[in-house]
């Protein structure tokens, strides 16, 4: 029986998290000698992008009623086409809104924030993130049906090309309970949770007017920008950039923390980063204990200089 995976798209374009979920599903399928079937809703991207990561079948749901996202209606649509015991979702906001509703509809177990390939499939057991990144849980599903959400940037995107085929399912799911009034999306801004490099700053920057140099560094690195909790509380930066225990949990390849002392709540949200660089004028800042590389000094001199050096490296 195929492993199913939900490939999330935004305005028809697949997210990196979708490719990661397909890569994960392929690893699960390979363990059991199965194939991967992808479900997506109103994509405009080609299914070739999904075959590249191991999808053998792609079911494209076409439904004008699902043009706007509704967790309930999307769960209903996915439940109409899914036909397997294992269903993989990315742990994005939308997908992790659909997954719990679907788990109830199908009477399946739901394990969220999954980090690695399953430890066993019968019973289904897998490692997941818990305690806001301060610990791990090995979770076992009761029963046979299981839905997983894969933590972003944890498993990684892995190419594993197969030849696949596509099927279109025309549905018309009732979507009457919610109605989108307005939709604002800032174009060209890198999604913080998907970003492979994140440059983040804290109160050490002294004021919002100094964020230009953080953005300059982020631009040369192709990075997203983030901030500590006090900075978003004061209103220097929007809530959406707050990373930490009560903000966003991220797991980029490189996290650069500028003028952030490293409170335990901040570390909880960022300690899944693969490499951490801390830049702080206070040599006693606790963050240095959790960093791979550290620079003790004045951010206002270090950041512009570092930006120039990285620019030179990247040519």
């Amino acid at each position: 029986m195929a492993v199913f995976v939900y490939a999330e798209n935004i305005n028809g374009v697949y997210k990196k998290a979708a490719f990661e979920a397909v890569s994960y599903a392929k690893a699960v399928a390979d363990q059991a000698g199965d194939t991967v079937t992808v479900i997506s809703v109103n994509p405009t991207d080609s299914s070739d992008l999904l075959y590249k990561y191991g999808a053998t079948n792609v079911i494209n749901i076409k439904d004008e009623g699902l043009k706007n996202f509704s967790a309930k209606a999307y769960a209903q649509a996915v439940s109409e086409v899914v036909d397997g015991n294992i269903l993989v979702f990315p742990h994005t906001t939308d997908a992790s809104s659909v997954a719990p509703m679907l788990a109830i509809m199908k009477n399946y177990s739901l394990i969220t924030n999954v980090l690695e390939a399953p430890e066993s499939q019968a019973p289904f057991q897998v490692k997941r993130k818990a305690f806001s990144g301060k610990g791990f849980m090995h979770a076992k599903a009761e029963g046979t049906g299981v839905i997983l959400t894969v933590s972003q940037n944890a498993f990684g995107v892995k190419e594993n090309a197969v030849s696949g085929s596509e099927e279109v399912k025309n549905l018309s799911v009732a979507n009457e309970d919610t109605k989108v009034i307005s939709h604002e999306q800032s174009s060209g801004k890198l999604d913080l949770k998907e970003a492979e490099v994140v440059v983040s700053a804290g109160r050490g920057l002294k004021g919002p007017e100094n964020w230009g140099m953080v953005e300059d560094l982020a631009n040369v690195l192709g990075a997203a920008t983030a901030c500590s909790k006090p900075v978003s509380d004061i209103g220097w930066r929007p809530h959406t950039e707050h990373v930490g225990q009560t903000g966003k949990a991220i797991a980029p390849n490189l996290y650069i923390a500028i003028g952030i002392s490293g409170a335990i709540q901040h570390l909880a949200g960022v300690n899944s980063s693969k490499t951490i660089v801390v830049i702080n004028s206070d040599a006693e800042a606790p963050f240095f204990k959790s960093a791979d590389y550290g620079v003790v000094g004045d951010a206002f001199q270090i950041i512009p200089a570092l930006t120039e050096k990285i620019k030179a490296l990247k040519g």
């Binding site: 935004i10 996202f69 967790a71 309930k72 994005t92 906001t93 809104s97 659909v98 997954a99 719990p100 509703m101 788990a103 109830i104 177990s109 739901l110 969220t112 924030n113 818990a130 305690f131 806001s132 990144g133 301060k134 610990g135 849980m137 090995h138 979770a139 076992k140 599903a141 009761e142 029963g143 309970d177 919610t178 989108v180 009034i181 939709h183 604002e184 999306q185 999604d191 490099v197 809530h239 707050h242 225990q245 009560t246 903000g247 490189l254 335990i264 709540q265 909880a268 490499t275 951490i276 660089v277 960093a291 791979d292 590389y293 550290g294 620079v295 000094g297 004045d298 570092l306 490296l313």
Partner: protein, 248 residues
């Protein structure tokens, strides 16, 4: 309007997380318990609706008697009454089942909760409750207004936000931004005193079914010692990131 706010009792955000020697459970020794911070945004929003629209606010926790101080704190913040389902919950499903059961009997117009708890981070309970009750669900909400039988919710989406009208009753899961951090209510003496006499009903669980078991737990491995680079030698930092860590 009747609002049900679901709160979870979680370790204080400054807690160091340890597990029992056999790694089979979270070690609760020495832990201070607080209202899950994301639930606190939902609770404060409910109190604001209580003030502006005369709503009644019931706070609900699924937990054993140890969680009662957290319910009392929610009452001190301003909830009208409290319900505790007498069950030490083992997973999101068992928690959601009990919440749905209380909600079904109470006829609430709005169910508010945080989008996830900061302990087990399931992020599953609100959506499960919505589906069990067959109600619409808005997750990651950063704004909410109620107008009669309809709510207008703002939800965070990747790289932006979306404003949605929702037919009530509905389940809304909030996060930071639903109310500002500065608007979070710190209980005053009057609130604390009145919380002592507010009704707190204890109900027995309806089911014991569990769908996910925590088999064992691990701590996060420590990183190797930090390599300190001189601010006068940023070429070395760039080299390390490029050649050693291979991240740029």
């Amino acid at each position: 309007m009747k609002i049900l706010v679901c709160i979870s009792s979680v370790p204080d955000t400054t807690s160091k997380i340890n597990f029992t020697a056999d790694k089979s459970a979270f070690d609760k020794n020495g832990i201070q318990w607080v209202i899950n911070p994301l639930d606190e945004f939902a609770l404060t929003k409910a109190i604001k609706l209580q003030e502006s629209q005369g709503a009644t606010v019931t706070v609900l926790n699924v937990g054993d008697a140890v969680t009662e101080p957290v319910i009392r704190k929610a009452l001190a913040i301003g909830a009208n009454d409290g319900v505790r389902v007498n069950l030490d919950p083992k997973d999101s499903y068992s928690t959601a089942k009990e919440i749905a059961s209380v909600a079904q009997n109470g006829g609430y117009d709005l169910i508010l909760c945080g989008k996830e708890s900061i302990d087990y981070n399931g992020g599953s309970v609100p959506g499960m409750v919505a589906q069990l009750l067959n109600q619409p669900f808005v997750n990651a909400s950063v704004g909410l207004d109620v107008n009669g039988a309809e709510a207008t919710a703002v939800r965070e989406i990747e790289g932006g936000k979306e404003t949605i009208s929702v037919k009530l009753p509905a389940v809304i899961a909030g996060q930071k931004g639903l109310v500002d951090e500065k608007d979070l209510i710190i209980p005053n003496m009057r609130g604390i005193m009145s919380a002592r006499t507010k009704p707190l009903q204890v109900v027995e669980p309806t089911s014991s079914e569990v769908k996910v078991q925590g088999v064992s737990y691990d701590s996060v491995p420590a990183r190797a010692a930090v390599k300190i680079v001189s601010p006068d030698n940023l070429d070395e930092l760039v080299r390390l990131l490029h050649e050693e860590a291979k991240v740029i």
